[in-house]
């Protein structure tokens, strides 16, 4: 274990705390949005605020925290990059899979949805 902690300053606190708060706010936004929109497709759409963006913030916060506590290592950076890649890219693609499945299901769409492109 690389033990090379940074000295804790207000900046390190902010480096950890602010992404955490932002991430949490993303989750909150997603939760509210998910409750506001009227169909499953809309919810799939808005949730990526949390799963994509919110998670990235938390990963950054965690990385900052570990770096502050134990110092920077390349291994940690690699892990963080993989994690960001996974949430930002892979999970987003997965939500397309859900979206298609939802659209192809019997779930009614929001009746106000403009679907004229589907009629062609």
């Amino acid at each position: 274990m690389n033990e090379n902690p940074l000295s804790e300053t207000i900046w390190t606190d902010l480096a950890v705390g602010v992404p955490a708060i932002l991430g949490a706010l993303c989750f909150l936004t997603a939760m509210v949005a998910v409750n506001r929109v009227r169909d499953a497709l809309g919810r799939t759409n808005t949730m990526s605020v949390a799963t994509g963006l919110g998670m990235v913030f938390f990963i950054l916060a965690a990385f900052a925290h570990v770096t502050v506590e134990h110092g920077f290592t390349w291994v940690n950076l690699g892990e963080v990059l993989i994690a960001i890649f996974a949430t930002f890219f892979v999970v987003t693609i997965a939500s397309m899979t859900i979206a298609r499945a939802v659209f192809m299901s019997d779930t009614p769409l929001d009746p106000d949805t403009d679907t004229r492109d589907l009629d062609e």
Partner: protein, 90 residues
């Protein structure tokens, strides 16, 4: 841990707890399976986020490991649940 960080993390924790419970309630009371599956993703990542927050209080040697593995395999349950909606159709 400094007071500022404690406050920040505490606030984040409260917000997360709120959104987690809100999502969970929605899953319970929504009759709509498709919505539930969408929300399952949020719950999953909320849990990872909570883990991240907790580990900032208490040391964990696996903090980043878990964030990484958790993100990597997040796709599994998402796709699996999507397949549930389509009853296996790809």
């Amino acid at each position: 841990m400094s007071t500022l960080l404690a406050w920040l993390l505490g606030a984040a924790l409260v917000i997360m707890a709120l959104s987690l419970v809100g999502t969970a309630l929605r899953i319970v009371f929504d009759r709509d399976d498709e919505t539930r599956i969408v929300l399952a993703d949020i719950v999953y990542f909320s849990a990872l986020a909570l883990f991240a927050l907790f580990m900032m209080w208490r040391e964990s040697v696996v903090a980043l490991d878990v964030m990484m593995i958790g993100s990597l395999i997040g796709i599994l349950s998402t796709v699996a649940l999507a397949r549930l909606i389509s009853r296996g159709r790809r």
